[in-house]
Symmetry: C2
Subunit: 193 residues, 2 copies
């Protein structure tokens, strides 16, 4: 089997949404496993001097991104609703994902969180929204949510590792030590040997 | 014939280089004309508070861009040499292109300037480099170079128009009022109706 692709994602990231919905299927098609790697962009943006998403700091870029996402989601047949608040704090969701890193249901949980944020305009920083994303997915949703509280160190380590890898945005992909950035690089990442 | 695609380019822009070398052929294949639209990113970056290329301001992004360009150019079978100075001042080249906006040889001149910058590591801010790019392309290279000096207003208007269109980076494409940004959106722009 070809080497796995590491999928580095941040739950607040708009462009990570279409990637999250299709990476498992597309990787399977080329015989690759996906290693899901939640991290936080906030601390990385802060190191660059940004206290907000660049899509808010640079309005022309932000306006373009929303239109681009509409087009992308239409092309991929994915529902899209512009979130009424952006960026939403993905800390809780990322910790829950970190705590469930080795659970077979984690990717489905992550896909649901992305749909909550970008298809249903739900506030993913709220425990009840995260609990709803876990329900029917994790065997014990309450326990999975509670486990997130203990995953601070894991998430911090992921974010530190992202910086070491030269990651500056999401989604990013790592294949055989090669870094790719952006939803539009998914195919190139999956084809890398 | 399908409506034309406006190709908004800045000579300092790394990602505009692979676009510049193939847009004419790819547009022809789908029966579209290309309208070449030189502009300057510097004033737009300044409005965003940047006094340098974001690839210099944000080193992780810059390091990734150089690697990504290597891969892209290999995929498109284009020569690539990391420029020893970046970004190079494309003001003179952009003025010459503006002055030659309606000349059939302008696209070939522009392609040569990009190759000078990103395949041959030449300093495109120098008149002799621009003259070499005009030689064998423009019927009267000296006159074409001199005409650039009178194209200040044209270039300023292009840059103002770019801002009005919501352009914040290069390459950008405009098709039927729809904006696309990035070399990786060329195919989407050419397919837009």
């Amino acid at each position: 089997m070809a080497s796995p692709v590491e999928f580095w994602f941040e739950f607040a990231s708009t462009y990570s949404y279409p990637t999250s919905q299709r990476i498992a299927d597309e990787a399977k098609r080329v015989g690759r496993n996906v290693l899901w790697r939640p991290f936080l962009l906030g601390p990385i943006f802060k190191q660059q001097g940004w206290n907000d998403s660049p899509f808010n700091l640079y309005p022309a870029k932000g306006a373009y991104m929303y239109r681009d996402l509409e087009r992308l989601c239409r092309n991929h047949d994915l529902p899209w609703r512009k979130p009424s608040s952006f960026p939403r704090n993905g800390l809780l969701a990322a910790r829950v994902a970190c705590a469930a890193l080795n659970e077979p249901w984690m990717p489905e949980f992550a896909r649901r969180v992305y749909r909550a944020n970008f298809a249903h305009d739900e506030n993913i920083s709220k425990p009840d929204v995260i609990l709803a994303c876990l329900t029917g997915v994790a065997p014990d949703p309450e326990a999975a949510l509670a486990a997130g509280a203990d995953a601070k160190v894991c998430l911090r380590k992921h974010t530190e590792r992202a910086v070491e890898l030269g990651i500056f945005g999401a989604p990013s992909f790592l294949v055989n030590g090669e870094l790719f950035w952006g939803d539009d690089r998914l195919a190139a990442a999956l084809a890398w040997h």
